[in-house]
């Protein structure tokens, strides 16, 4: 049986945990350490923690805060936000981070991906690609929480990231973020076909059937935010995660081989 990683994504913003809709309208979710504790008890596969203020504020990772979080995470933790030097990478790993995620620097300082891969190995280097459709309907890579749109198209950018040494692509659709409208399957398909490294799909998941569709489109792992921190229909904060039985029956056995 092929196991698929199912990954909750947590956003750090102004000291708390938030969730966005299309990278806007941040809703407060709670305390990050408490959330990680609960996810840890649920024996989740992996967790992604993104400090969405760091690059905007032109500062590095808050190591003290991250150490508090990793001390509660007995699962792989990938961190992204404000990493601009290999010294910071070393410090993050020493403090329990398993993978580092680059978004702003992936675009503006691609050599950092290469240097980091040499230092910690490709399997610990993730290139995060935020994608938005422009008014002509073509996909463009964005950064700084979607506020800066680049000219790059996600397919060639993903290739460039893999060549630079990234071991994984974290592919997030801004248009789908927080909407529960399902993943952008065309985007996933295009990027997965272009690279031989794993692609993690993110943005728009509303349940296990969406995970199956993303994997069938080529994704190696699936990620979600709102789905794991809110209870619908009223968006009350409730941390949840599918049981092993649900994953086996509704995801692992449901995907095409």
């Amino acid at each position: 049986m092929k196991r698929i990683r199912v990954i909750p994504v947590l956003l750090l913003h102004e000291g708390g945990l938030v969730k966005s809709v299309r990278f806007k309208n941040y809703q407060y979710v709670g305390d990050p350490i408490n959330a990680v504790k609960i996810f840890n008890e649920k024996e989740i596969d992996e967790i992604v923690v993104l400090d969405i203020d760091a690059s905007k504020e032109k500062r590095g990772p808050d190591i003290e805060r991250i150490r508090e979080i990793t001390s509660e995470a007995f699962i792989p933790l990938a961190y992204g936000g404000g990493i601009s030097t290999t010294e910071q990478v070393k410090e993050l790993f020493y403090n329990g981070v398993e993978k580092v995620i680059f978004n702003y620097q992936a675009i503006h300082q691609t050599s950092l991906i290469t240097e980091t891969a040499k230092l910690v190995g490709s399997q610990s280097v993730v290139a995060s690609i935020d994608v938005k459709k422009n008014w002509l309907g073509s996909y463009k890579v964005c950064t700084l929480n979607g506020s800066e749109t680049t000219k790059a198209d996600p397919v060639s950018f993903a290739r460039q990231m893999a060549e630079a040494g990234a071991g994984e692509i974290f592919l997030n659709s801004i248009d789908k973020d927080g909407t529960y409208g399902g993943y952008d399957l065309d985007l996933i398909k295009q990027v997965c076909e272009a690279v031989s490294i794993p692609v993690v799909a993110c943005g728009g998941a509303s349940g296990l059937p969406d995970f199956v569709k993303a994997v069938d489109a080529g994704a190696s792992a699936v990620a979600a935010g709102s789905l794991f921190v809110f209870q619908r229909p009223h968006q009350a904060v409730l941390i949840s995660y599918p049981s092993q039985q649900q994953l086996e029956q509704q995801l692992f056995s449901a995907i095409k081989q």
């Binding site: 007995f74 329990g96 190995g121 399997q123 610990s124 071991g167 994984e168 190696s220 792992a221 081989q257």
Partner: protein, 204 residues
């Protein structure tokens, strides 16, 4: 005291945290005196094989650990590249391995896989023991977290303790006398990893 060898590589704090969660205190150290008095030794490793080997050789700890392992028979557990370093060589780099176990470290071969899988192998996989071991007590049917593009190929089949599937079946754990190593990350494999580290701490 279990000593986690600090030679400038790896997620040492995570290993210490996981041991602590299971009730075992440990020491992160790169000092010869600490290693000489260690009851067990844990050798982490992460990143490029050559980088790990160069740093380990430059640490000045190699002969001390070799004395502990081969003369004093102190139990040794390697994790990830820590395990890969036990072999004679690695397809990832040019540095010689430690040669503490016969065999080599090789790259995944996508063309031999029964269906195409992405490399690096990242994620959780069920791990099966192929011989009896105190390391695997209570761990039948458990799953562990992997993040790697290379794996070990021991020269002697009898050295293999654990196997897992990724495209094809590979060795993911070795045990020969007092030398043990695992390819996955017990420190990041919640209750299963905790159990395995406790088994190493208490049963050897």
């Amino acid at each position: 005291m279990i000593v986690i060898v600090d030679y400038g590589v790896g997620n040492l704090t995570s290993i210490q945290n996981m041991l602590k969660k299971g009730g075992t205190t440990s020491l992160i150290s790169g000092k010869e005196a600490d290693i000489l008095s260690a009851s067990k030794i844990l050798l982490p490793g992460m990143g490029h094989f050559d980088n790990c080997m160069q740093r380990f050789n430059a640490s000045g700890l190699r002969s001390t650990i070799e004395k502990k392992v081969f003369t004093d028979k102190t139990p040794l557990l390697g994790i990830c590249v820590g395990l890969q370093m036990f072999m004679e060589s690695s397809e990832e780099g040019n540095e010689a391995g430690l040669g503490w176990m016969a065999g080599k470290t090789v790259r995944f071969k996508p063309e031999q896989m029964n269906h195409s899988l992405k490399i690096p192998h990242m994620g959780w996989q069920e791990v099966k023991a192929v011989k009896q071991s105190a390391l695997w007590k209570g761990l039948e049917g458990s799953r562990f977290y992997f993040a790697h593009s290379f794996y070990v190929q021991p020269a002697s089949v009898s050295d293999t303790l654990l196997m897992a599937d990724y495209g094809y079946t590979i060795a993911v754990g070795l045990e020969k006398d007092n030398i043990l190593g695992v390819q996955f990350h017990p420190e990041k494999s919640h209750r299963f990893g905790m159990q395995m580290l406790q088994n190493f701490a208490n049963n050897y």
